[in-house]
């Protein structure tokens, strides 16, 4: 097992433990999907807490939810869906061997991710100004003030962990962009682009669930 044969999974189409490049790609894909399963279980714990508390305190959740900015949340949803599109186009470009298009779409995806995080930061700042950050300084007008704090606790943990996944995703895409510029990916070897694409879509999908659960409670009543 020489160092060069081993340390160069990216350059070499095949690492020593695999018989064929196809077997290697199969293994990577299965590994990535399994990783996404663990991610689903990770967020499931949060969704479970959300379910229980919303079922306990529906009025408090509705009242607290009305303090979220649907316009900004909706805008961010659109941004993320667009970023999934550019990610798909990046994967497609890597399969077609179009290096410049690959780099362009990766950068576009990173930018859209950045816009999402920026808008998210603005929203969090609004919560800070309104004293909606859970803890000793929490303040909420209305009959369900205590339980509303639960809603905001979940809101911050869920959107916070989602944002953390976005930051990790942007980091991965940045590495990919540098590698793509150096011409590392070819139509026969583009597994990392494919895998990061799966991850990016997963993170988007989590938001697709978070947005209605957090922002759109009982909107028809007002």
């Amino acid at each position: 097992m020489s160092a060069e044969a081993h340390g160069a999974v990216f350059h070499a189409p095949r690492a020593h433990q695999f018989d064929t490049a196809e077997q290697q790609k199969d293994a990577s894909t299965l590994g990535m999907w399994l990783f996404l399963v663990t991610e689903i279980m990770f967020f499931s714990g949060l969704f479970c807490c959300y379910l229980v508390y919303r079922w306990f305190y529906p009025e408090a959740f509705a009242a607290a939810s009305h303090h979220l900015d649907v316009a900004l949340g909706g805008f961010n949803t659109a941004v993320l869906i667009c970023s999934s599109l550019t990610m798909v186009l990046a994967v497609n470009a890597s399969q077609a061997g179009k290096r410049r298009a690959l780099v362009a779409f990766l950068i576009l995806t990173i930018l859209l991710g950045g816009v999402f995080l920026g808008v998210k930061a603005v929203e969090w700042h609004h919560k800070y100004v309104d004293h909606h950050i859970p803890g000793p300084s929490f303040h909420f007008e209305g009959p369900n003030a205590r339980q509303a704090q639960l809603f905001f606790s979940l809101y911050f943990v869920m959107t916070g962990l989602h944002a953390l996944h976005m930051v990790i995703g942007i980091g991965l895409l940045t590495v990919l962009t540098v590698q793509a510029r150096r011409g590392k990916f070819t139509p026969t070897y583009n597994t990392p682009v494919d895998m990061c694409g799966l991850y990016w879509h997963f993170v988007d999908l989590i938001w697709i669930f978070l947005f209605p659960l957090l922002y759109l409670i009982d909107r028809h009543t007002k």
Partner: protein, 549 residues
């Protein structure tokens, strides 16, 4: 016992292919990573054992005279945390599993060698966090971290310990993921699912739990730490949060985690039974499916830890029935191992002694599990030493017995040296006697009503407690002995042949110790596992056949 060192004729294998600290710390060889894990978990085992010694010493007398109650709380917490998260969970999968999964399926390595190394580093970093918590003053919540005590009232290092467990959890996830992908994608030609050794089936089932369960405890710990650090109050009853929800989330992982500990132990026992009886495991398919069934049922029984936590009676009923169901696949395994032994030509070497120990003790542990799964009886024995004895029969009598048996069985393959047989048999006996003397009195103590987690107790419990402490000291000798003679054997042990047991697993068809890429030529599998009838000498692939490929 000191004799002249036995020298090995020079041949390149995974141990002498390269030298130096760097060649170990940067290795991607699953066999070396297994040994890194072995060293790390042995450290945590003896650390956890040290706390056990202090607990048993305190309980020698009815008065709380050795340590204060606060210190005692920290002792049993650190014992539990060390043993559960840093020894029992990785014990068999990360050492024997890591070493043997690729060998048994005829692969050159796991699917993701770098990830494998990363998982060891992650585990070690998690362990360091917990060590930091320990050295700074410890943690006193019990290994279960129940809220609101852990989030609001405890005045100890909860966050550091919890972070350590959180980090170590990722190593478990990565190991499970690596195993699943490897078993799916890396099997040698001809090795179909129903030709796989049962070791692989059980590790597959355990890996499923690692991958599906561990993320849930991870997010629970995040919530716990966030609540403690930022007072955001997800489980805080003061703002409408529900502490029982924490218990649900905690046990959703921590009950299946029991099966992460016991399934790999069953994996080892299946191999040991077949090799020692020189027979195919009776009802191979049923034992294989039983592993998967245990993994599936294991996810549906967590509520039996909460019979007295204010859970609804109907939920309790359902959880009780489901808990009984887990006994079915477990019993299938025990019966089938016993049936395998029937009319086998049993070799009574050390691994088999541990196997007998496992089958007996696991049966007692499992049967008492049925006691505590019964709603009515559980109210009586809940939070008593009966429960403590029950899970130690599973964890120590089951998992550690199998772990030691497996270490003896595969030691010749791992190191290329034999362990001293007579001494090993003696220490197996010491472990068995010490174990029963330690934990059997605890069943009686619990049934008589001695609660767990107290450092003082009424005088009438003293005799049984003295027995338990005496047993613990015997048990300690039983654990120190193998460590000494294993280290001794590295230099002075007899040179091991490639297949000392005449077993048919693929791992025995390669050299001892194996070459860096495991096999000189990847074997082609033409027989089912444990085919001792058509392969009486334990040789799966004659050399010529292997050349076909």
């Amino acid at each position: 016992m000191i004799t002249a060192p036995v020298t090995v004729p020079e041949r390149e294998h995974y141990l002498n292919a390269s030298y130096g600290l760097k060649s170990w710390l940067l290795t991607k060889d699953h066999k070396r990573i297994a040994l890194l894990y072995l060293a790390t978990i042995t450290f945590f085992f003896f650390l956890g054992g040290l706390f056990a010694v202090m607990i048993r010493l305190e309980l020698l007398t009815p008065q709380g005279d050795m340590v204060q109650s606060e210190t005692y709380n920290k002792l049993f917490t650190m014992h539990g945390v060390n043993m559960v998260f840093f020894f029992l969970l990785p014990a068999i999968p990360a050492t024997l599993g890591n070493f043997l999964v690729p060998l048994m399926i005829g692969a050159r390595d796991l699917a993701f060698p770098k990830l494998n190394l990363a998982s060891w580093y992650i585990f070690t970093i998690g362990g360091l966090f917990t060590l930091y918590a320990l050295l700074s003053g410890g943690v006193d919540t019990g290994w279960t971290f129940y809220t609101p005590y852990s989030t609001t009232y405890s005045n100890s290092f909860v966050i550091a310990t919890a972070l350590g467990i959180f980090i170590a959890g990722f190593s478990s996830i990565l190991t499970g993921l690596n195993f699943i992908v490897t078993i799916h994608r890396m099997r040698a030609p001809g090795l179909t699912w129903f030709r796989l050794p049962l070791f692989i089936w059980s590790h597959y089932a355990a890996s499923l739990i690692m991958v599906l369960g561990t993320p849930v405890i991870a997010v629970t710990i995040v919530l716990l730490a966030a609540e403690r650090a930022f007072h955001i109050g997800i489980f805080d009853p003061a703002i409408g949060g529900d502490p029982v929800l924490f218990q649900h989330l905690f046990w959703f992982y921590s009950h299946p985690a029991v099966y992460i500990m016991i399934l790999p132990a069953m994996a080892v026992i299946s191999e040991l039974v077949a090799a020692s009886a020189r027979k195919r495991v009776y009802g191979y398919e049923f034992v294989a499916y039983a592993s998967v069934a245990i993994a599936v049922f294991g996810f549906l029984v967590w509520g039996h830890h909460m019979f007295v936590s204010g859970q609804s009676v109907y939920a309790g009923l359902v959880f009780s029935v489901l808990s009984y169901l887990v006994a079915v696949p477990s019993a299938v395994k025990v019966f089938n191992w016993t049936a395998t032994l029937h009319k086998g030509s049993i070799a009574l070497e050390t691994p088999m002694l541990y196997t007998f120990g496992f089958i007996g003790l696991f049966t007692i542990g499992g049967m008492t599990g049925l006691f505590v799964a019964a709603l009515g009886l559980d109210v009586h024995v809940h939070d008593t030493y009966f429960v403590v004895a029950h899970f130690h029969y599973i964890m120590v009598g089951g998992t550690i017995m199998a772990y030691l048996g497996g270490l003896h069985f595969w030691w010749p393959k791992i190191t290329g040296r034999m362990y001293p047989e007579i001494l090993a048999k003696l220490s197996a006996l010491v472990v068995f006697i010490g174990f029963n003397l330690t934990f059997f009195p605890q069943f009686i103590l619990g049934y008589l009503g001695m609660p767990r987690r107290y450092h003082a107790y009424p005088d009438e419990f003293q005799v049984l407690n003295v027995m338990s402490t005496a047993g613990a000291s015997i048990l300690a000798v039983g654990y120190l002995l193998p460590m000494c003679y294993f280290i001794w054997s590295l230099r002075y042990g007899k040179i091991a042949p490639d297949n000392p047991w005449g077993a048919v697993g693929l791992e025995w068809q390669t050299l001892s110790p194996p070459p860096v890429e495991n096999f000189d030529e990847i074997p082609i599998v033409t027989h089912e596992a444990y085919d001792y009838v058509s392969l009486p000498n334990g040789s799966v692939t004659p050399k010529k056949e292997a050349n076909v490929r």
